[in-house]
Amino acid sequence: MTTTIEAATAPKRAAKRPEHGPGSKADGWSRRFPLLPALVFTFIITQLPFVVTIYYSLESWNLVRPGSRHFVGLSNYVQVFTDSQFRRVTLNTVVLTVGAVLIAVALGLLLALMLNRAFPGRGVVRTLLITPFLITPVAAALLWKTTLLDPTYGLVNFVLSPFGAGKTDWISSFPLTAVMMAIVWQWTPFMMLLILAGLQSQPGDVLEAAGVDGASNFAIFREITIPHLRRFIELGIVLGTIYLINTFDTIYMMTQGGPGIASSNLPFYIYQRAFLGFDVGQSAAMGVVVAILTTIVATFALRLIFRTFSGNEGSV
C-alpha cells in the first residue's frame, strides 16, 4: 500500500518539515501568536525611546543653548568616561546596589527562617514584616529622613542616646549609608517572601531522611536547604539588582544626592545632568552606559555569589 512509498521517503523525513503538527510552519505561528501582543507593545514603547536616547547621546545638545545642537559622534561617551564625578558616582552605585542587595537577601533569609516555624500570631508578624515593601518609596524616604534619622528629633538617635551615640547627623555624615538603610528596609520583605516560598517548598521527606541519617540542624541547613534555596536567592538577586540599580526616589527625597555627589547614584546623576544641567546629550550617553553596566552587573553578581556554592544540587 502506501507503506512502500513511505518507506522510500522515510529517510528524508527528518530534514523536511511536516505538514501538520509540531515543527510545521503553521504550528510555529500558532505558538508565536499569543506572544505577539506583549512583544509588539513592549518593543514599541521601550525600544523607541531607547533608540532615540542613543541618537541623542551622539549629539551635543544643551537645552539652554538650543541653537548649538549638533552631531558629535562618540565624544559624549569619551567625556562620560573621563568625568571623575561619573566614576565616583559609578562606585557609589555599585556599593549601594551590591550592598543593599546582599544585606536585603541576608536579612530576608533570617526573617524567612524565623517565619518558617509556626508560632502564635505568625500571620500578624508576617503582615507587619511585608509592610515596608508596600509603602511608596518617596514616603518611606521621607519617613527615614525625618522620623528616624533626623539628628534632633529622630528615633534612631533617641534610641542610641543612652549609649552616648545619639548626636550623629546621619544624612550629612553618612549619606550613602542612610540611603542604603532605607532601601534595605523596603526590599528585605521582598527577599523574605521569595526565600520563605523556597523554604516552604522543600520536600518534607528529604528533610526527614537527613534527620534519620544523623544530620544536625545546621548540617541539614547547609547541605540541603541552602542548595534548594539557591534558585530563589538567585531570582531575588537578579530582580533586586535590576530594580535597585535604578533607585531614584529615595535619593531624591533623602539627600538629593548630596552632600556633593556623596550619595548620588547613576540614575540620580543623570537626572541632575538632564534636568539641572540641561545637558541632554551627556545624560543620554550616561544612560546608555548605565544600561550596559546593569547587564554586566546582574550577570556578574550571580556568577560570583554562586561559585561558592558548589554544584552539588542534583536535579530531582
Binding site: 502506501t2 513511505e6 523525513r13 527528518a14 511536516p18 505538514e19 501538520h20 503538527g21 509540531p22
Partner: protein
C-alpha cells in the same frame, strides 16, 4: 472498526542515536486487550504515547481503523487514556471531570448527564459525583480516571500503568475489574505495565519490549511456554527462569558436574547452529528433587534462601560445583527445606529451553 496497527513505527529523539522505539510493528485486532510490557526504558510508554498523539511518529505509521494517525492531533483520534497519576482536573468535581470530554465533543446537556451517570454506575462512583478529586482515595481517583475514559465510548482505550499507584491488594482486585470491564465493553485496549504478572493475567496478547525493540508478540501461554529468546524467557515468569550458559557434550550439556540429556532434535539444532556452548533455560517448577537413590545422580545444590508462600515455596540455592551459579526451584509449601540443606535436582529434556549463547534466539 478499531483495529490498531503499528507499521514500523519509530520514535527518534536525537538523530543518529538509538531510537526510543525502533520500527515497532504490531497488528492488534478490534476488541483485543493487548499489553505492552518490559523493563524501564524499554519504550512501552513511548509506544503508547505515539498512539495517543503525545509523542511524534518520526518514522513509519500507526493506523487506527485503517486511518494513518501521523500528524493527527490527539483530540481527533477518538481515543481515551488513563494516566499513571490519573491527571484528574483538580478544580472540577468527579462529575465535571467525566463530563468534560463530552462537553468538548459538543454533546447536549441531557445526553451528557445520561452518559456520566451511566459510567458512574458502572464504576461505583455515583455517590462521589459531586466531590473533588482531592477528597477521594487513590483507588477512587483511579476509577474516576477510568470513568472519564469510558464515558467517551472511544475506539481505543489506552492505559499507562494505571495500577502502579495502588496498594498490592487493591491492585489484584482492580486488575480483575478492568479485565471484566474491557470484556463487557469490547473496546480495543492497549495497556502498559512493567509488571509481568499483570501482563500475563490481563492480556489477550502481550508485546514484550526491550530497549525500544519488540521481542515477542504472543498470547501469555505462548510467551511462557515458547519464549522466542532468552530475554523473554527470563522476563516472563516469576521467579525468573533459571538460565545457564553451558558447554555442549556428546549426549547433552554439562551442568553442575552432571550431564543433562538432550533429545535428538535438540542436539541437531545445536549442531546446526555450530555452537560449542548453549544457554539452557529451566523454569523453577521444571525441577524435581529426587532423594531416592538409583538411576542417575542429580545436580547438587545448597539452599541459601527459602520463600514460604503458603501453597508453594520457592527455594533459592547455589550449585555445589560452581557456587557462582544460582538456582531457583519451586517446591511444595510444606517441604520443610532449610538453609544449608543439600538437594539433588533432576529435569527432563523435553522441558528444557535452548537459546543461542550470543544472540539469545531460541534454537
Amino acid at each position: 472498526m478499531a483495529e490498531v496497527v503499528y507499521d514500523s513505527a519509530s520514535r527518534i529523539y536525537t538523530p543518529g542515536a538509538k531510537p526510543a522505539v525502533n520500527k515497532l510493528s504490531l497488528d492488534i485486532e478490534d476488541g483485543e486487550f493487548v499489553v505492552f510490557v518490559g523493563p524501564s526504558g524499554c519504550g512501552k510508554s513511548t509506544a503508547l504515547r505515539m498512539l495517543a498523539g503525545l509523542e511524534e511518529i518520526d518514522d513509519g505509521a500507526i493506523r487506527i481503523g485503517g486511518k494513518n494517525m501521523v500528524g493527527v492531533p490527539s483530540r481527533d483520534r477518538d481515543i481515551a487514556m488513563v494516566f499513571q497519576n490519573y491527571a484528574l482536573y483538580p478544580n472540577k468535581t468527579v462529575g465535571e471531570n467525566m463530563d468534560f470530554p463530552l462537553k468538548m465533543r459538543g454533546m447536549s446537556k441531557e445526553e451528557r448527564d445520561k452518559k456520566v451517570r451511566a459510567a458512574g454506575e458502572v464504576l461505583g462512583l455515583t455517590e462521589f459525583l459531586d466531590r473533588k478529586p482531592r477528597a477521594l482515595s487513590g483507588g477512587q481517583r483511579q476509577r474516576v480516571a477510568m470513568g472519564r475514559a469510558i464515558v467517551r465510548e472511544p475506539q481505543v482505550f489506552l492505559m499507562d500503568e494505571p495500577l502502579s499507584n495502588l496498594d498490592a491488594k487493591m491492585r489484584v482486585g482492580t486488575r480483575a475489574e478492568i479485565a471484566a470491564l474491557q470484556q463487557r465493553l469490547g473496546v480495543t485496549t492497549i495497556y502498559v505495565t512493567h509488571d509481568q504478572v499483570e501482563a500475563m493475567t490481563m492480556g489477550n496478547r502481550v508485546a514484550v519490549l526491550k530497549l525500544g525493540e519488540l521481542q515477542q508478540f504472543a498470547t501469555p501461554a505462548e510467551l511462557y511456554d515458547i519464549p522466542r529468546n532468552a530475554f523473554v524467557a527470563g522476563f516472563i515468569g516469576s521467579p525468573a527462569m533459571n538460565l545457564y550458559t553451558v558447554p555442549v557434550e556428546e549426549e547433552g550439556v554439562r551442568l553442575g558436574g552432571q550431564v543433562v540429556r538432550l533429545t535428538a532434535a535438540q542436539r541437531s539444532a545445536i549442531s546446526a547452529a555450530g555452537i560449542k556452548t548453549v544457554t539452557l533455560g529451566i523454569r523453577p517448577e521444571q525441577w524435581t528433587s529426587n532423594t531416592t537413590n538409583g538411576s542417575e545422580q542429580g545436580i547438587a545444590a545448597e539452599i541459601t534462601v527459602v520463600e514460604e508462600l503458603g501453597s508453594d515455596a520457592f527455594i533459592y540455592g547455589k550449585l555445589v560445583t560452581d557456587p557462582s551459579e544460582s538456582i531457583v526451584v519451586r517446591g511444595s509449601g510444606r517441604s520443610g527445606a532449610r538453609i544449608g540443606d543439600k538437594i539433588s535436582l533432576h529435569t527432563t529434556s523435553d522441558e528444557l529451553h535452548l537459546f543461542h549463547p550470543d544472540t539469545g534466539e531460541r534454537l
